[in-house]
Each structure stands twice: as structure tokens, then as C-alpha cells.
């Protein structure tokens, strides 16, 4: 009975499993054609706006059903889906990254389709449209646009004796006003700031400040990056000097005091001026309608030009959809005047469609009018397949350059070098020879087959001799089959394939092509981030392993004594170790919060200065090590078990000999614990080397590894190269280097153990 019940349960779960792996199967509609639509705008209110449009379309088109899914981290998810051949039919995608996908053939060309549908360039603002065009062909259609302007607090202007009707016009005034508006309390902490260049929407303002100086980032033909433009250097140097007037950690602490919605520092009246996007206007009106604010074009330098910057989202069709016609109908609806107007109103963003933007909702409101006016001066990031890397490099250069940790010139040189490398790699891709897999598979398979055959032939001869052994031996082979297959499929095979990939240029969307030693050459000699990630990882290993071992051994030693309520203590210390790492990292992000995080509250309560913890490159890794300390409970239990094996008589006789606590610890406990200690060192080293989840979680998607790449660990970088840039060849080379490092480290540890006379501890 029991068995039957279990079987039924199993069957039920199996059914559920099959069902859930075809996640999209359920449909609420009888429509003939179902369109799978991925939306990147998962935050409110754009989320509601997208839903509104989809509902509008579905009710107007009974034969088509658009099924919308909100997908955070689209940058990485969409490419995985396209690569995995499970792409959505249509998606909202960050516009500036479109070219990278178009170059790799992941998005459908829309030039002809748009023409047929009567969608024309003239109806759209220039910047958003330009961002959709790569090599003369259209690959996306703009959904909306943003544009950056200066918001300022008139109340604070008045308090500081500035004319609230005269916002700063140029960089010099901006800096001067900022100085006037900055306030500190008696202890020197910032309580009010004027203008912080690094604060505002969209992580890097370097693009903008450079444009205002007249810098360009890409040559006309798209083949050369020009981040070494002296004008860009001037802009970054200016920002560095500006930022140097404040302590960078003060600024970071000041900023983490802010929160969502009405707790935004500008809305709370703690910031005098801020460069922000369109949606700030709606936020002011919604959360703090009493705020006396002003809006103006962003100041530009005297020797520069009036410029601002637009980014935003676009509709794209991933390659592989079967319903091109219906999808185009949907897109045509979305970029049409009516839908654009609805979207703009609900999502608090500016329509990309000019006709929609000329509606009185926008032009009849002086606050909205300034956005429409500014679109004339708005530029867009260069359209290039290297846009993703350019963004990350610009962000890094901005971060380290404005903080002054790296000289702006060096920072920009490195950024230039990295972007140029990517451009060259894309350009030369087609001249490389594709990998022919059949001969490789044949040779490798043949070698494995022959070696295995010889080995098994020998074994079979041994088995044949004895009849008693025979059945047992056959069973042995049969029972170990899962392990053997696992070894072959998930270890030996992949390791061989990884070697081959490591000598290739491989983006998964097109066949792998031989590129010789290029990946290794670049990694070892020309990629500072590789070395940085290795350094970060070793730093973590070197500090996290001893601290966690000492911590867990300490707890174990205490609990190994005659203690009241031992199991209660043990449970208490062990609990944090079973908390899922994702949850743990998230919880610690709050504990490390600059304003009301536990650690800073304690520091402040005992009169010490607050720290920026995870947001400062000096304290970010130590923060993770502290977090790691919280999980020493698992090690404690292992040590407790090991301590049970320490002979009592030894301790007693040592005591009789008059050895003190410390002496007994060093000469009795430690030697008997050596095997456990060795086991712990190995296990901890390996797991610390793999650190990923915590770093991934505490740094945002748009700024992986921040602050200043201090949290860019080895596996994290491998993941980024492989699954965000889709440089699978490069990532495979990294995997191989990691393999070699781990083998060397393990061998050294075994050697040491052998020296100490514990060669068989792992057995």
C-alpha cells in the first residue's frame, strides 16, 4: 500500500514536472497565434504601461494573443534564450546593446518590414532612432526615450543666497553653486550636497561630460574606438578635480542614506542640484508635490557645446520566430501615435515618436516641454557591437577616474585598449578558420575508446579466471555506471572540449573558429581585469580561509568542554551556515547599509566613524570576509567531531606533567587534529576559490564587480565573459587556467600534508 502511494505521488510529480518544463503551455485565450513577449521594464510604473499596451493590443486583435513576461537581467537572459533556441517572439531591449546582437545574427533585420508597415524615420526623434540602426540596417524600433536635464531645489537656492530663477549655465557655475550648497554638520559629515557628478540615473555620466566637451567615442567607420580622445580626458579630469573637493567615502555614505520613492535624497531636500532623467519629474509630483523645484538644461563647459544624452528601450524580434507578420503588427501598434501617447503618460517617459510627443499632454506642460526641447541636443551612445564592453569600460574609467584612484589618462587608455580589442576581434572573426568537429570527435572518441578497451580487456581476463568473482565484478561495473557516465559526460568530455574552445573565438551563435593562442596571450599579457580578478580571489582565499578556520576551531574548542546546554549552543552557531547564500548575501547588504545598517549603527553608537562597507573598494572584500565568518558553524561541527577523536588520556597525562592550556593545545590537540585541519583547509580553499554568488548579488547588473572592480572575482569574471559578452572561447581559456591553478594548489597542500606525515588523510 505504502509503495503504491509513493509511486502515485512520484507519477504525479513527474506530470507536474513535465508540465512545468513547458512553462508557456497554459493559455488564457483561444487566439490563433500566440506571441511570447519579453519585457525588460520590470519596474513600476513602466511595467503597468507595458501591460496596458498589451491589453489594448489583445482586445483590438482577437486572432493574436500577446503573452507578456517581465524579465529582469534581459542582457544576459535574451542571449541565453536565443542561443538555447527558445527565444521569445518579440522583446523590449536596451537600445544601445542592440548592435551587439545584430552583429551576431540574433535579431531580425527590420529595414524592409518597417518600410512595408509604413514606419518612417521622420516620425521619430533622432537619437533613439539612430540607436536602432547598425551598418545602415534597422534592427529595432524605439519604444520610448529618456533625456537628461538638471533638476534643482529652489528652496535650497534661496537659503544659500542664490537666485532660484538662475540655474547654473556652465561647468564653472555648476561647481561654484555646488560649493555654496554643500553643508556639513559639526562632526564634518555631509548633511546637504550641491551637485555630485556621480549621482543620478545611469551609473556613468562620462559619456555626457565627454560629449559636452565635444569628444567622440567611435570612428565614422565603426572600426576604431576613440576613448583616447583628449577632450574626453579633459572632461574626466575636470570631474576628478570637482569630486576631489569632497571625501569620496563621505559622498557614498551620504548617498546610501537614501531610499526608494519619497526617500530619494533629492526629494527629501538634501541635494541642491541633480542631473536626472525624465521620470524624476513624475516622482517629484507623486511623492513630494510641495518641493519647490526648477528644471534647466544641463550646464556645459564654456569651450564646449550644449549636449545631453538619451538612452532607452526598443522593440526587437529575436531570430527564430514563426510569426513575423503578427509580431510586426504588434510592433507597429506599439510605436504608433496612440500607444506611444499611452505609454508616455502611464510610464512617465517621453515617447520616441515625435508626433505623440507633440501632444498637448507634453507640450502644454512647461515642465514636459523642456524634455521635448532638449531632444534636439540629445546624443546617443555609439552604435557598435562592442557597446556592452564600452559601457562597462566607461563605467570603470568613470568610477576610478573620478575617485582619483587611477589617473584619468591611464584609466581611459585601458578602456580604449579593451574596447579596441573587442572591435578587432569582431572584425577579424570571419577570416578565421571554423573548427571542424567531426575529426576531433573521432580522434578523441577513438583514443578514449581504445584506452578504455585495453583497460577493460585486461580486467576481463582477470575476471574470467574466477567464477565467484565474476558475478560480483559484473555487478560492480553495472552499478558504477552512473558514476562512469557522469565522469565522462560532465568532467572528461567538457574538460577536453574546454581546451579546444580555449583556442577559439566562439560566441555560440556562430561556429567556433580557431584563433590560436590569442585568448591566452590576451589573458596573461593584456587583460588587467583578469589579473585583478585573480588578485581579488586570492585575497579572499588568503583571508577567508584562515579566519573561518580559526573561527570554527575556536567555537569547537569552547563547545568541546563541559558546557551546560551544549546542543543549544551548537544549534545556534550552526544555523547561519544553512541559510541560503543568496538570502545571506541579500540580508548582509542591508546589514552593511551606510545609514541604518547594523554595522554602522554600532560603529556610530560607540563613537567611531561610519564605514562605506560594500560601496568602497577598500572595505568591500573585507565586508565579504566578515559575511563569510558568519557561516563558520559548518566547520565547527566538523572540528567537534575531530575533537572527539583526541585521546583523553593524552590530555590527562599532559596535565599531570603540568602543561598549561596553551601548551596542551599546541602539543596535544593540534597534532591529533591535523587530519581534520588539513581536510578543512582543502575544502575551504576550494570553495573560497569559487566565490561568486555573494559578489554577483551585492553588485548590480549594470555595474558588475563594482566598486572599482574590487568584487570582480575569478568565477564572476569568467561568468561575465561567457554569459554576458558571450566570449565562450575566452571564458574557456580562463577555466583552463583555473584548472591548472587548482591542481597546483591541491598538489602543494598534499605535499605539505605528506611532509607532516599525513599522506592518507583524504582517503
Amino acid at each position: 500500500m505504502k509503495v503504491k502511494f509513493g509511486f502515485a505521488l512520484l507519477l504525479l510529480l513527474l506530470l507536474a514536472f513535465v508540465h512545468s518544463s513547458k512553462a508557456f503551455a497554459a493559455s488564457e485565450s483561444e487566439a490563433e497565434v500566440k506571441i511570447q513577449f519579453w519585457n525588460q521594464l520590470f519596474n513600476e510604473p513602466p511595467r503597468t504601461a507595458v501591460n496596458t499596451l498589451v491589453e489594448g493590443f489583445n482586445s483590438q486583435h482577437p486572432t493574436i494573443y500577446v503573452d507578456v513576461l517581465h524579465v529582469p537581467q534581459m542582457e544576459q537572459k535574451l542571449l541565453t534564450a536565443v542561443v538555447g533556441r527558445v527565444p521569445p517572439d518579440v522583446a523590449i531591449f536596451d537600445r544601445f546593446r542592440v548592435a551587439g546582437y545584430a552583429e551576431r545574427g540574433a535579431f531580425m533585420r527590420l529595414t524592409e518590414l518597417a518600410e512595408e508597415a509604413g514606419i518612417q524615420k521622420e516620425d521619430f526623434f533622432e537619437a533613439p532612432w539612430n540607436e536602432c540602426v547598425y551598418k545602415g540596417e534597422l534592427y529595432a524600433l524605439p519604444l520610448q526615450t529618456d533625456v537628461r536635464i538638471l533638476y534643482y531645489n529652489k528652496e535650497l537656492f534661496r537659503e544659500a543666497g542664490l537666485d532660484p530663477e538662475k540655474p547654473p549655465q556652465n561647468w564653472e557655475e555648476l561647481r561654484e553653486y555646488s560649493r555654496i550648497l554643500t553643508k556639513r554638520d559639526d562632526e564634518g559629515r555631509l548633511v546637504q550636497t550641491g551637485f555630485i557628478p556621480a549621482f543620478g540615473y545611469g551609473n556613468t555620466w562620462l559619456y555626457l561630460f565627454g560629449w559636452q566637451k565635444g569628444a567622440k567615442y567611435l570612428s565614422e567607420d565603426g572600426e576604431r574606438a576613440t576613448l583616447d580622445d583628449p577632450k574626453l580626458l579633459e572632461a574626466l579630469t575636470w570631474v576628478r578635480d570637482f569630486t576631489a573637493e569632497y571625501e569620496i567615502d563621505d559622498i557614498k555614505l551620504f548617498l546610501t542614506g537614501g531610499g526608494a520613492r519619497e526617500l530619494d535624497p533629492f526629494l527629501m531636500g538634501r541635494v541642491g542640484m541633480i542631473g536626472e532623467e525624465v521620470y524624476m519629474l513624475a516622482r517629484i509630483r507623486r511623492y513630494n508635490p510641495d518641493l519647490d523645484y526648477g528644471m534647466a538644461p544641463l550646464p556645459w563647459p564654456k569651450d564646449g557645446q550644449h549636449a545631453t544624452w538619451s538612452g532607452g528601450y526598443a522593440m526587437v524580434i529575436p531570430e527564430g520566430t514563426e510569426h513575423v507578420e503578427e509580431v510586426m503588427e504588434f510592433i507597429d501598434y506599439i510605436v504608433g501615435v496612440e500607444a506611444q501617447l499611452t505609454f508616455g503618460k502611464v510610464a512617465d517617459s517621453l515617447p520616441a515618436n515625435k508626433i505623440a510627443a507633440s501632444d498637448s499632454y507634453f507640450t502644454g506642460d512647461p515642465d514636459w516641454q523642456i524634455f521635448v526641447d532638449e531632444m534636439e541636443y540629445s546624443l546617443n551612445r555609439p552604435v557598435t557591437p562592442a557597446a556592452g564592453i564600452m559601457w562597462d569600460e566607461m563605467r570603470w574609467a568613470w568610477e576610478v577616474g573620478s575617485a582619483g584612484t587611477v589617473d584619468p589618462k591611464d584609466a581611459l587608455e585601458r578602456a580604449q585598449n579593451n574596447v579596441q580589442f573587442e572591435l578587432d576581434r569582431i572584425a577579424e572573426k570571419n577570416s578565421l578558420t571554423p573548427v571542424k568537429w567531426w575529426p576531433i570527435a573521432l580522434i578523441m572518441g577513438g583514443v578514449i575508446f581504445v584506452l578504455l578497451g585495453i583497460r577493460l580487456w585486461g580486467s576481463w581476463k582477470k575476471i574470467r579466471k574466477s567464477s565467484l568473482l565474476r558475478s560480483e565484478a559484473y555487478a560492480g561495473y553495472a552499478f558504477s555506471l552512473p558514476s562512469f557516465l557522469g565522469l565522462l559526460i560532465f568532467w572528461i568530455g567538457p574538460i577536453i572540449v574546454a581546451i579546444i574552445y580555449s583556442f577559439c573565438h566562439y560566441d555560440v551563435l556562430s561556429p567556433a573558429r580557431w584563433s590560436g593562442l590569442q585568448n591566452y596571450e590576451r589573458l596573461l599579457f593584456d587583460d588587467p581585469l583578469f589579473w585583478k580578478s585573480l588578485y581579488n580571489t586570492l585575497y579572499f582565499v588568503v583571508f577567508a580561509v584562515p579566519t573561518s578556520i580559526i573561527g570554527s576551531l575556536g567555537l569547537a574548542l569552547m563547545l568541546n568542554q563541559k558546557i551546560i546546554g551544549r546542543s543549544v549552543w551548537r544549534t545556534l552557531f550552526y544555523l547561519p551556515a544553512i541559510v541560503p547564500l543568496v538570502a545571506l548575501a541579500m540580508l548582509f547588504m542591508w546589514l552593511f547599509n551606510g545609514q541604518n545598517g547594523l554595522f554602522n549603527v554600532i560603529l556610530d553608537a560607540v563613537g567611531l566613524p561610519k564605514l562605506a562597507w560594500l560601496s568602497s573598494p577598500d572595505s568591500s572584500k573585507p565586508s565579504l570576509i566578515i559575511m563569510n565568518m558568519w557561516t563558520v558553524g559548518a566547520g565547527m561541527v566538523i572540528f567537534l567531531a575531530g575533537l572527539q577523536g583526541v585521546p583523553r588520556q593524552l590530555h590527562e597525562s599532559a596535565m599531570i606533567d603540568g602543561a598549561g592550556v596553551i601548551n596542551r593545545f599546541w602539543h596535544v590537540t593540534i597534532p591529533s587534529l591535523l587530519p581534520t585541519l588539513f581536510f578543512m583547509v582543502i575544502i575551504n580553499t576550494i570553495s573560497s576559490f569559487q566565490i561568486f554568488t555573494q559578489a554577483f548579488l551585492v553588485t548590480s547588473v549594470s555595474a558588475p564587480g563594482a566598486p572599482e572592480n574590487s568584487l570582480m572575482f575569478y568565477v564572476f569574471y569568467l561568468f561575465i565573459q561567457g554569459f554576458t559578452y558571450f566570449n565562450m572561447g575566452y571564458a574557456s581559456a580562463m577555466a583552463w587556467i583555473m584548472f591548472i591553478i587548482v591542481v597546483i594548489v591541491a598538489l602543494v597542500q598534499f605535499k605539505v600534508a605528506k611532509r607532516l606525515g599525513y599522506e592518507d588523510v583524504i582517503r
Binding site: A16, N593, I638, Q690, S700, S732
Partner: protein, 301 residues
């Protein structure tokens, strides 16, 4: 009892107490954050004492001037709003279901395949046993990220992206860690018992299922618990293989919440608490096996 050992006892208790505080305070901090409305989370100095049963009641009393000075400075009104939102703004049930399915098949796959393999390593004599065992153990020392990319491409070629298969199928191919754990246990089973079975003419499968497994319930439970916990906590696997909202697991759901509600600490803490609770419950029900499992890997190891 002499002075030295009394002193030592005192020091030990004092240190235990301090460590306990260090371990508990973060839990407390997180709990109280999850129970506060947004506007009180960031107020400084932090409000530590729940003095009203709802945020509205607190605000009302504040307006009416009915709060004592202490309450105004240190008190807050408890709100369950963050927990409500964690369940409504976030397809928690869907995530929970997906996670449970993965956990179930992972445990099933691990138990079946690992006990078979461990049996062949521990109880059967065959010529290539030691060589294979050594190889399998060697992979335990290698970070699996080394094979991340080829394995991803393998699953993609099979058309398994955005299904639960890449997370579940490998679990049927005997992950080395649990093979090792079970083998350690099986070795301690007296070989006479197995021989007796063989002399009676029982097949090896029968011996495994009727003799060895019933004797190994604690070890199997330990393996089950650990593999459930690993599957529950797994992050990188779902991150790479699952795309759509419908197939996400709790770990991934939590992470996308962080990117979605970055600064809404109350909500995030509530979601974190919700994710931790099932693991804690499992722990309290099966504490013994947790401890035994770790002990088994550590000492015999």
C-alpha cells in the same frame, strides 16, 4: 575545582555569550527591518522597539501626540505589509513549486545513483574499482565552473535551455560528494552480512536493496537532507539555465527581487526571511542528520 579551571570556565561562557550575541543580532536586525514600514526603516537613530500593532496606529498616535518621548524616539508600529507584498508582488508560490520539483528530483536522483555507485565502491570487488574511485574523488576537488561552458553548450544542443532538465538530469549521474559520503557508511557494514546473502543466491541488487539500504537509513537521510539543501540553495545553475519567470526558482526569484526593488529593504528582508524559514524548519526536524552528515565527511575523511 581549582582557580585555573574556574577561570577557564568563566572565560569560556563569556566568549560563548559574546559569540552568540554576534550570531543572533543580525537575525534580530533583519526581523525588525522586515516588520517596519518604509519610512521608518531609514530613520536615524534606528527605531528598535515595536510599540504599536500597526503602522497606522503608530502614525495616528504620533499625530495625536499620544506617544511618549521614548516611543517617539525608539518605537515603531509593526506592519505585515512587507510580508504581504513578498507573496503578492512576487510569484512566490510559483517559485516555491519549481524549487520543490527540482529538490524532489535531485534528492531522488542522488539517492538512487549514489547508493548504487557507493555500493559498488564499498561492497563489491572488481578490477577497476580503485582507479575509478580515485578519478571520481579527484573531481570532487575541481571547481565545477571549469566545465560550465561546455556543459552549457551540451544542454543547449539537447534543447534543454529553460527547462528543469539541466538541473535535474546530472543529479542521476552520481555526484561524487554523496558517493563518498555513502561509501564511508557502507564500508562499515560487516561483509559477512553481504556474503550470507550471496551464499543464499541473492542478486547484488537484492542485497543492496534488502540488506544494505535498510541498514543505512541514517546515512540515506543525511544524503537526502544535504542534497535537498544544495538544490534549494543552488544559484548558478538556475541562473544560467532558467530564463522565463515561469521556471524560476526561489534563489533566482530573490535575486531578481534585489534588482527590482533595490532600496525597499523592508520588502527584501521579508522575502529573505520567507526563503530561510523552510530551511530552518528542515533543520529543526532533522538536526541529528545534519550534524551526523557533516561529521561523516569530516572525520573518516
Amino acid at each position: 575545582m581549582n582557580f585555573e579551571s574556574k577561570f577557564q570556565k568563566f572565560i569560556t561562557y563569556a566568549m560563548l555569550f559574546v559569540s552568540a550575541v554576534i550570531f543572533i543580532v543580525p537575525f534580530f536586525w533583519i526581523m525588525q527591518t522586515s516588520l517596519k514600514p518604509d519610512n521608518q526603516i531609514l530613520s536615524y537613530p534606528p527605531k528598535l522597539v515595536p510599540v504599536r500593532s500597526s503602522a497606522e496606529a503608530y502614525d495616528a498616535d504620533l499625530k495625536a501626540g499620544e506617544l511618549s518621548e521614548f516611543e517617539e524616539k525608539w518605537g515603531y508600529g509593526v506592519t505585515w505589509d512587507n510580508y504581504r507584498r513578498a507573496f503578492t508582488d512576487f510569484p512566490f508560490v510559483r517559485y516555491l513549486f519549481n524549487t520543490t520539483v527540482i529538490v524532489f528530483f535531485t534528492v531522488l536522483g542522488n539517492l538512487i545513483s549514489c547508493s548504487m555507485v557507493a555500493y559498488s565502491f564499498a561492497c563489491l570487488r572488481w578490477p577497476d574499482r580503485n582507479a575509478l574511485f580515485l578519478l571520481v574523488m579527484a573531481t570532487m576537488l575541481l571547481p565545477y565552473q571549469i566545465t560550465l561552458i561546455p556543459v552549457f553548450i551540451l544542454f543547449r544542443n539537447l534543447g534543454w535551455i529553460d527547462t528543469l532538465l539541466p538541473l535535474v538530469v546530472p543529479q542521476f549521474l552520481a555526484p561524487p560528494f554523496f558517493v563518498f559520503l555513502l561509501r564511508q557508511f557502507f564500508i562499515s557494514i560487516p561483509s559477512e552480512m553481504l556474503e550470507a546473502g550471496r551464499i543464499d543466491g541473492a542478486s547484488e541488487w537484492r542485497i543492496l536493496t534488502r540488506v544494505v539500504l535498510p541498514l543505512s537509513k541514517p546515512a540515506l537521510l543525511t544524503v537526502g537532507i544535504f542534497s535537498a539543501m544544495f538544490a534549494w540553495n543552488d544559484f548558478l545553475g538556475p541562473l544560467i539555465y532558467l530564463n522565463s519567470e515561469e521556471s524560476k526558482t526561489l534563489a533566482i526569484g530573490l535575486q531578481s527581487m534585489v534588482s527590482q526593488y533595490g532600496a525597499e529593504w523592508g520588502l527584501l528582508m521579508a522575502a529573505g526571511v520567507v526563503m530561510i524559514v523552510p530551511v530552518l524548519m528542515l533543520f529543526f526536524f532533522a538536526q541529528r542528520y545534519f550534524i551526523e552528515g557533516i561529521t561523516l565527511t569530516g572525520t573518516k575523511g
